[in-house]
Symmetry: C2
């Protein structure tokens, strides 16, 4: 049977203790995910709570920003033509008849021969058409003396110059920047529609696993995948719906898979061909498992399926495989469901390969590397169970399926594990 | 008077309606901040809650990870030498005497002529020294038949191969990656010491400002700086202590500045030389204002001072100036107080200048730019009050103080406003 990454593909192959027959390629899996993952429905939030969220609809301005002509400087509002000829050796004066402060406008008119004190952001008074900066003026009694000429229109911000009423402020699909939420707030809008954050359930399975604080049994290990996955979900804009440690029990796994409340379920452990690897057959019973086995290293036992609309990722239990399979597939899906880009959430840096990076044709390799002065070295003896290989590494390099690896001297992209600052 | 960015520098100059006499350079201000900002004290959190936090002390492993030799594959644990000669045309068999599962080890010994079923991660039984992968074997009655030879030691993970007891798992100062919190959890540690997150108070001042949902007065504008600053603080790892909209009242500002509970206070608005710019003189009365006026555009009216240990930033009220002054100075301080790097939290991209970028010697310019196929164009008519200039821009370019600008064709770093994905 050809195992294609097609949702409607044939019956489940029970690979337990027999091995995978056909593996999907990384590219096929990503295509399958991209075709399946549409942004979730929207919810309303205030601009103050919208940072980092993705707009589900365009935002149209209901009013002009600013809603009036205003001063762009601290100084004096006047008629620009009345400053003609003013200079250091020819100070001129005007009669000071009032002031306009932000929120407290001048309610008279600036007639010929007069000026008013004005502050940045304050409404321009009728009659005035320019603002002379405070630096070039001083008050002398009831007059203002100034030593610079200013053209009509200078230092005046026009009504609607930032945002005009009726204008599209920001488009649908925009991931909101700090300044975006400020701009939205400036239009007086109280809520915007943003894509819901995917709710993600984490099921970490394994009889051998101890939770933090558990009495440590001789043949137990402490679970590392729950905290790693929780952090990755947070990074990708998901919401942790719940995180549970389960023993290898078919009924428990089935119950945890079918309970409503999640958009995505991540199952870590029991995804492969061992006798206790229940997750693939349970998932194929309660839902579908169109993808099981991916041509990559590590993470080849990854499975991807669904129960109705709920996407289910079977991530290998080995911590590096779990991280890698999450990053290639689950993170991509969570970001897409949340309206974000499917791009890698890592800073890229060009670097030169030092020692040869070995891979195999037909398989994508995820290779942890050290980075020194723009030269990378693969981290050796880095089995999929050695999580410290990903904490010692500066990042990783992806070797595509059509290459045998990278020769020394090749220029490649390194994906850096550390964020910007 | 020479205005230097020295904490102990002279008396406060009241610049209201007179203009700044001397401005500090951006470099001087950053030096002053870096000398003053040390990481805050530490607090204890669980690894599951430590993602993105900065370690305040090194973490030493209390136990080996894994705590026992284990299988790295699903397959059969045996004595490697007993597989010598096995191949597709020479299948060999061993007697199957039991199994070792994760958390359920085999409690006998694998003697000559025998093997046990074993799963990835399960403890290695006494007597066995290698694991033959399931792919090369099948069970036939009470025996296992296999078609590949495997050397002693293969597919066995050694006790402590990931982390050895007594080893430093991660160093102090490390900003924790997703895999870091997993690795910490794997050592069984229940809490780690991380640098406290700076508590940041936001005081947005201005009689003209309306809060979201307020009845909109004719000469009011809706506050945009509060949501922008809140987002920036979140991005930089700070905690919003409180956010308050204040009218221009000296007593209210003084009370809000002196109330305990914050590590950093951001005051937006009223930082300049206008008649209602109270913040500088109030701060100089209740604390100190060693820096007021910076040689940059926008944001030149920025002030930086302190009240005891509390850093106070006087950010201009114009929204672009507020964003810019935050990013140059306040964000840097918040990141340093939280133990992070002072680096810009923006992805950089090399790009070529299209139209000339104009600046002036002696001043640092923050220039918003469009970016198209690696070519940048400055956004024109981008006054400091036009926040939409920062939402239309792809990012910004910094023109250092010793340059008159950038000529067309120059290669420069663009700081991209959008995050990675």
């Amino acid at each position: 049977m050809q195992r294609t990454p097609d949702d409607g593909c044939g019956r489940f192959d029970d690979v337990r203790m027999r091995g995978f027959r056909e593996r999907a390629t990384v590219g096929q899996v990503c295509e399958w995910l991209d075709a399946r993952c549409r942004a979730l429905n929207s919810e309303e939030v205030s601009p103050a709570n919208a940072f980092g969220r993705v707009l589900a609809s365009p935002v149209i301005a209901a009013l002009d920003v600013p809603p009036f002509d205003r001063s762009a400087m601290d100084g004096f509002a006047l008629r620009g033509t009345e400053t003609n000829g003013a200079g250091d050796y020819n100070p001129l004066t005007l009669r000071l008849v009032g002031q306009s402060l932000p929120g407290l406008p001048f309610d008279g008119e600036v007639i010929a021969g007069t000026a008013i004190r004005i502050m940045t952001g304050a409404p321009m008074p009728n009659g005035a058409d320019a603002v002379l900066p405070a630096e070039f003026a001083r008050e002398v009694g009831e007059r203002v003396e100034f030593t610079a000429a200013i053209a009509p229109g200078r230092n005046v911000g026009r009504r609607g110059e930032d945002v005009a009423a009726g204008q599209t402020v920001l488009e649908s699909g925009r991931r909101l920047r700090p300044q975006d939420v400020g701009l939205l707030a400036s239009t007086g809008i109280q809520t915007v529609f943003v894509v819901k954050r995917p709710r993600v359930r984490v099921l970490v399975t394994g009889n051998e696993l101890a939770a933090p604080g558990d009495a440590h049994q001789p043949f137990q290990i402490f679970d590392s995948n729950s905290p790693t996955l929780r952090a990755l979900i947070e990074r990708d804009g998901g919401v942790l719906e719940s995180s549970r440690l389960l023993i290898d029990d078919r009924a428990l796994i089935a119950a945890a898979l079918t309970e409503p409340g999640a958009d995505v379920i991540l199952v870590s452990g029991g995804s492969s061909v061992g006798a206790e690897d229940h997750a693939p057959s349970v998932l194929s019973e309660v839902g579908a498992l169109p993808i099981h086995g991916v041509a990559m290293r590590p993470s080849s036992p990854t499975g991807i399926g669904h129960i109705g609309d709920v996407l289910v990722f079977l991530l290998p239990g080995n911590p590096v495989s779990c991280l890698c399979a999450y990053d290639f597939f689950a993170g991509r899906a969570i970001r897409k469901l949340g309206g974000r880009s499917s791009d890698w959430p890592y800073v890229r840096q060009r670097a030169t390969v030092g020692s040869k990076i070995v891979s195999a044709v037909g398989r994508v390799d995820y290779c942890r590397v050290r980075l020194e002065s723009n030269r990378i070295e693969p981290i050796s003896t880095s089995g999929a169970s050695i999580l410290s290989s990903t904490t010692r590494a500066a990042g990783f390099v992806i070797v595509p399926g059509d290459l045998e690896g990278y020769a020394p001297g090749t220029e490649v992209d390194v994906f850096l594990y550390d964020p910007l600052s």
